[in-house]
């Protein structure tokens, strides 16, 4: 994984400051923001999120992060391979409870990030993760406000807290996650110093 140089982090920070939503306390200490990023990392690198935020083209599944069976591929638009779109198995909602465990969960727009904006979360260090989500080239051209909107309301993101029968939800409550995101932004969306990758599982 290529490490991202400081200029990008700086640019991202500036963008964050400029684009802070109204009503957020711009005096929130940077230390609080950095602490909030720990929570953000916990969420983004939870299996419910990172299993599809991958560097390669084969998504993962289950808490163990095993390669998705069926040879599932990201595909040209992140929606699966031609002939095997994600929607073949994944509906726009989780299946009814009567379908039992291990049935494919669902949410609107079930997909991976596109190949152009892979937004890799898995295996990244705190610093790299932070740089990644702030980089418009990798995050789908989102500024921080758009990111906040995304993590607050996107139905596929929200699925992480309602993942269906037999699947652990993201370990941090969603409102706590959003609050942390706001704290982080309010503190200038700072990125922690570089560190080792959290996990070596990069498939």
């Amino acid at each position: 994984m290529k490490r991202i140089g400081n200029p990008w982090v700086l640019a991202g920070m500036l963008a964050g400051i400029v684009l802070l939503p109204k009503g957020v306390d711009s005096q929130t200490p940077r230390t609080a923001a950095l602490a909030a990023f720990d929570t953000i990392q916990t969420v983004l690198q939870h299996p419910r999120c990172q299993n599809c935020h991958i560097p390669g083209n084969a998504p993962l599944q289950l808490d163990a992060g095993l390669v998705h069976t069926q040879n599932v591929q990201r595909g040209p638009a992140g929606k699966g391979a031609p002939g095997l779109p994600c929607s073949t198995c994944h509906g726009v909602t989780n299946p009814p409870a009567s379908y039992g465990p291990n049935t494919p969960p669902g949410a609107p727009n079930w997909s991976l990030p596109s190949p152009e904006h892979k937004m890799v979360f898995i295996g990244l260090s705190k610093a790299d993760l932070c740089a990644t989500i702030k980089d418009p080239k990798r995050n789908g051209n989102r500024n921080l406000a758009a990111l906040l909107e995304h993590v607050s309301h996107d139905k596929l993101v929200l699925w992480g807290w309602d993942p269906g029968v037999g699947r652990a939800p993201v370990s941090v409550p969603h409102d706590a996650f959003v609050a942390s995101f706001k704290t982080w932004m309010a503190g200038g969306a700072p990125c922690p110093a570089g560190g080792e990758a959290k996990s070596a599982r990069l498939r």
């Binding site: 391979a81 031609p82 002939g83 198995c89 009814p96 379908y99």
Partner: protein, 151 residues
């Protein structure tokens, strides 16, 4: 609920959670769509919904109301869809149980990608299990079907 299957409208009265598979098989009598696992692991229940492949065992029938469902019975009138012709030519089938799903998955692939590579075939059809092991012939038949479609 109202279902459109193979161009025919049906009005069925079933529970909201009843999977499309069981409505097709047990209510409409369309048994070409098969039950293999009940959890989208095997692909035997594959149908097309608005031309896209769907595992009907994990999709409530209610979710496809107002959309066009195509089953193996409706893929072609005479069993002569290019995929079916290729399947016959290459002598793909063995027990035959998984083949409805395989054929619909192949038809969906060729719709999305008329000249698939081997990797495309592997990516599109690895969700369909075959216990008899017809995979090698499926690969050949998909390429043959692509040729037949080209004409």
């Amino acid at each position: 609920m109202k279902l459109s299957v193979n161009g025919k409208e049906h009005d069925v009265s079933v529970s909201d959670d009843m999977p499309l598979l069981w409505v097709l098989r047990d209510v409409l009598g369309l048994t070409g769509t098969k039950f293999g696992c009940g959890m989208a692991q095997c692909g035997a229940c594959t149908v097309l919904v608005d031309g896209q492949p769907v595992r009907s065992c994990v999709r409530p029938a209610a979710a496809v109301e107002g959309r066009a469902v195509t089953t193996i019975e409706g893929l072609s009138l005479q069993g002569d869809h290019p995929v079916q012709r290729a399947w016959a030519e290459v002598d793909v089938v063995q027990c035959g149980y998984c083949q409805s799903g395989q054929i619909l998955a192949a038809a969906a692939l060729l719709q999305a990608k008329p000249k698939p590579s081997d990797a495309d075939v592997d990516a599109a059809l690895s969700g369909n299990l075959c216990r008899c092991g017809t995979y090698q012939r499926i690969r050949s038949a998909v390429h043959r079907a692509a040729e037949l479609m080209e004409g």
